[in-house]
């Protein structure tokens, strides 16, 4: 089973949008292993009672569908020089520590994405997580299409169009 570390930004995308009343996170949680760091978890817990989206994540954590991994966020000189939040920094440390025991780290934040890529981590956007699940046969193309259309308000137009094209053509390198 594929293992993805997700930061809060990606988790919000997955929890906030639904397909026919089912939160996207519930459509993907059973198809792969989702892992979050302690502070990403803490934010879910402290916000869960206020926002229905966070409550969905809270329930999945309690059901064991999302794994919470403790991580020691030391005084990391390099990470501290970027304007990242604790959740993003912890997710990066977790990915570095887990090394080959995790397949991808997922974020929808531009700065976090750049730092993760520079750290040579297998980084992807939430949209690419959906594509990857289809490529590995964990998700049907129809469900993936519905998810991409559901999360459309979250992304600039090009990201959605490109993703739908990837799903349609079955390959990533399409120029038009």
């Amino acid at each position: 089973m594929l293992r993805f570390i997700v930061d809060t930004n990606a988790l919000i995308t997955a929890c906030k949008f639904s397909v026919r009343g089912v939160p996207v996170i519930k459509l993907i949680a059973g198809t792969c292993k989702l892992i979050i760091s302690t502070s990403v978890h803490d934010e879910v817990v402290s916000t869960g009672d206020k926002y229905p989206d966070a409550l969905v994540a809270k329930e999945l954590i309690e059901d064991g569908k999302i794994e919470v991994r403790g991580v020691e966020l030391g005084d990391h000189d390099i990470l501290n020089r970027y304007k990242l939040g604790k959740g993003e920094k912890e997710s990066i440390v977790l990915a570095v520590e887990m090394n080959e025991n995790v397949d991808f780290i997922v974020t929808d934040d531009r700065l976090a994405y750049i730092v993760m890529t520079r750290m040579d981590l297998n980084t992807m956007l939430f949209l690419d997580l959906i594509v990857t699940l289809v490529e590995r046969g964990m998700l049907t193309r129809a469900v993936a299409n519905a998810i991409v259309k559901a999360v459309e308000p979250r992304y600039p137009e090009g990201f959605i169009y490109h993703t739908l094209k990837i799903l349609e053509k079955g390959a990533r390198r399409w120029l038009s």
Binding site: T8, N9, K83, L84, E88, D108, D109, R110, L111, R154
Partner: protein, 80 residues
Amino acid sequence: MAELKAVRDLIRAKYSGLKALESPIVSEFLVRGFDQKLMELYEDFVRGECSLGYLAEQLGITTWEAYELLEQKGLRTSNL
């Protein structure tokens, strides 16, 4: 003003126990100070110079609250 309502509601929800907030002037300063800081951080966020998590931390709120706040103010919640 309408655009400050989301900020006002958030501050009320988080700090309503503080005695000083009973003063309308202190409350107004807080709201406007918070909003100014939010907009400064938002500029950094949309330029990709800080993350949403960093923006939230600097304001003393969670990333979920930051997302909601930006959305209520009609601002972008993504810096992609």
